[in-house]
């Protein structure tokens, strides 16, 4: 297992080595020591590799990830897994603002809480937060799924498009054009699959979640809706 100690190795060296990995074969497990909150660690990987980062990271860790599994054994700064395309990013601690922002695919798991704007402009990613999320989460969320085992702050799903939101706890308030929707069988199946993918056992029941999505009243401008903007 390659071990890179960021106390003695630069971020540039780390990212350059990860960018040099092949895309077609298992590149095994890598371990990164002493991240010390550095920004832009393990960004732009496009290889089936597992990278375990032993400690807290700064902004944009695992940004634009493809194929890789990145495990952060600590808290993550702003924009963890931003614009992820595929693979898995697992934050063992809390995540700051804009976790999973604009991400197109893959799975983002946050064991703790996520701050404001979690899943902002998400475009297909699956995000699962075991704790709670801050306000303005899923703002302009276009596609994908956001699962929250705890509570949501205010203005959830403001100006949402076609993303699926599942919250088990309380929702501070819903944003413009976001509404509660029926939890049908297909949604229960999707939710169960996401919970399973995150390793959450059957004691967490899908029936305890509420589903939220777009009311689709603001998709085309109408003067009578001007007050909603």
């Amino acid at each position: 297992m390659p071990i890179l100690d960021l106390a003695t190795t630069s971020r540039r060296d780390l990212n350059a080595r990860l960018h040099g990995l092949g895309t077609g074969r298992d590149e095994g497990d890598w371990r990164v020591l002493n991240p010390a909150g550095q920004h832009a660690l393990a960004v732009g990987i496009d290889a089936p590799v597992t990278v375990r980062i032993a400690g807290p990271v700064g902004y944009y860790c695992a940004g634009m990830n493809q194929q890789a599994t990145v495990i952060i054994e600590g808290n993550a700064g702003v924009g963890v897994a931003e614009n992820m395309m595929s693979g898995t990013v697992h934050v063992k601690g809390d995540a700051s603002q804009a976790a999973g922002a604009t991400a197109h695919g893959g799975l983002l798991i946050i064991d703790g809480n996520a701050s404001a704007r979690c899943g902002i402009s998400m475009k297909g990613v699956a995000i699962l937060v075991k704790g709670s999320i801050g306000p303005m989460s899923a703002f302009m969320a276009q596609s994908g799924s956001l699962v929250v085992l705890g509570d949501s702050g205010g203005a959830l799903g403001d100006s949402i498009y076609e993303a699926h939101l599942y919250v088990r706890g309380q929702v501070g308030s819903l944003g413009a054009d976001c509404c509660e929707k029926p939890l049908r069988d297909q949604h229960k199946q999707e939710l169960r699959a996401l919970l399973d993918a995150a390793g959450i056992d059957a004691s967490v029941k899908v029936e305890h979640f509420k589903r939220y999505g777009s009311a689709r009243t603001l998709y085309n401008f109408h003067i009578d809706n001007a007050g909603a903007y």
Binding site: A40, G63, M64, N83, Q97, T102, I120, Y161, N220, I223
Partner: protein, 444 residues
């Protein structure tokens, strides 16, 4: 007094409530909707026409027009990027999206720019294969919406342009109405087909210059420090915005004045927010000079560039290059008089057509209608654009040689005078025939 022969007062329109204003009030009252259109400001603002070059005479030597070289090339991204861009001419093609423009138009822009030896730029909506395939040098815009943003295209790009704002709507987000959200556009943007798309005005994962610095670091790490990073701003507070963009680590700054076009924005936004490019260049250059970054961080200016004189004037004021958008579309065939009958059918006339948001462009440029888009031949359109770019360059060289300059970058403010007080104050050059620069200590 003969009551049948009293001279009559002629009907007189109000200068404040002129016919256009009255018509707009009536339209607003009938619809409840604000007016949306394409293009940049249509009002008269101080512009490059208000400046003149002082050609060489006894105190300055001119260069022979057809014998002595006047170079035009420009390097962009020399500050940090491992692979800076080298262009043959300092006229680039501004960012315009597939979605607002047809695929044929984007391809034609790429073809024309490549023939001319310059770059073209993507827009809000991602990179199309047609555009990448036909563009030798392609700048990939990184916008608040991040529509279609992916690392594969990021690596295919020759430079990355972080868009903070644009001159037509500084502080505003993108807009693309439902009639232009075709299946392909919807798929590229991950949006439902046919909706009115109004994208965010702020980036989702950074706010302010400190965050922008970290975002630029991330983009550099993602691309192994190869690509030049541009930062594009709409002209509002150019001194401070340029200073902060430099502080944030930009290689190149793109400064867009209010004459710069948009695909679709509210008329009130286009006409009342932002400042003319003439007023923005000198403060921007001052910010670069104050940080010893002039010519180290390159400045591209845009908004109303039409001819080689405009190119030369922008460069004399301190720009390293210019960008064109509206003029490039006109070169492709936008607003062509040969289509007058069709413009009339749309309730307008050639030269005034600005309903780019409607997607019914008879020239096949600002549309997603496959039948209309097919009218534009990308090869012929690209050739026209290349011709036009060649003329811009030759004209700028003509002016520069007359001023005794062996490179367009050697043009300087000292070569210019202004025709109006406003232009003198904005461009910080003397009023013609005087040594008076309004606002300067000597001119107080």
């Amino acid at each position: 007094m003969d009551p049948d022969n009293i001279p009559r007062t002629l009907p007189r329109y109000s200068a404040t409530f002129d016919p256009a204003t009255l018509a707009e009030i009536r339209r607003a009252a009938a619809t409840g909707l604000y007016d949306i259109r394409g293009g940049g400001t249509k009002r008269r603002v101080p512009h490059f026409d208000d400046l003149l070059f002082l050609g060489a005479s006894i105190s300055r030597y001119p260069l022979e027009g057809y014998r002595e070289k006047c170079a035009t090339d420009v390097w962009l991204g020399t500050r940090f990027a491992k692979t800076p861009i080298h262009l043959k001419i300092p006229v680039t093609i501004a960012g315009m999206s597939f979605g607002s423009l047809s695929a044929q138009a984007k391809e034609a822009l790429g073809r024309g720019a490549t023939i001319a030896g310059t770059s073209t730029t993507t827009g809000d909506g991602g990179m199309t294969p047609e555009e990448r395939g036909q563009s030798q040098t392609l700048v990939y815009q990184y916008l608040p919406s991040r529509y279609g943003m992916n690392p594969d295209d990021l690596r295919k790009a020759d430079a990355i342009e972080v868009v903070v704002g644009q001159g037509a709507k500084p502080g505003g987000g993108g807009m693309l109405l439902g009639q232009k959200i075709s299946d392909r556009v919807a798929q590229m943007r991950t949006l439902p087909q046919g909706i009115d798309q109004r994208s965010a005005c702020r980036h989702p994962d950074w706010t302010g210059p400190d965050d922008l610095e970290i975002k630029i670091e991330e983009l550099r790490e993602l691309t192994d420090w190869q690509k030049p990073i541009y930062v594009k701003i709409g002209a509002t507070r150019p001194y401070y915005d340029v200073a902060l963009a430099v502080k944030s680590g930009a290689d190149v700054i793109v400064l867009d004045g209010m004459q710069g076009g948009t695909a679709a924005t509210q008329e009130v936004f286009i006409e009342h927010v932002g400042i003319p490019i003439l007023a923005a260049i000198r403060p921007a250059v001052q910010a670069l000079q104050d940080q010893d970054m002039h010519r180290k961080v390159q400045l591209i200016v845009s908004g109303g560039i039409r001819n080689g004189a405009d190119v030369a004037k922008a460069m004399a004021l301190g720009a390293d290059a210019v960008a064109i958008g509206t003029a490039a579309l006109v070169a492709l065939g936008d607003n062509d008089p040969s289509l007058e009958a069709e413009y009339q059918a749309l309730g307008t006339t050639a030269g005034a057509y600005d309903d780019w948001q409607d997607g019914r462009d008879p020239a096949g440029i600002t549309t997603q209608d496959p039948l209309l888009a097919a009218r534009l031949d990308p090869v012929a359109g690209g050739r026209r654009l290349a011709n036009y770019l060649a003329v811009l360059t030759l004209e700028a060289q003509t002016v520069a040689r007359a001023c005794g300059k062996s490179h367009l970058h050697n043009l300087e403010p000292e070569d210019l005078v202004a025709l109006t007080l406003e232009a003198a104050a904005m461009a910080r050059v003397p009023l013609a025939g005087t040594d008076w620069v309004p606002g300067s200590k000597a001119g107080l």
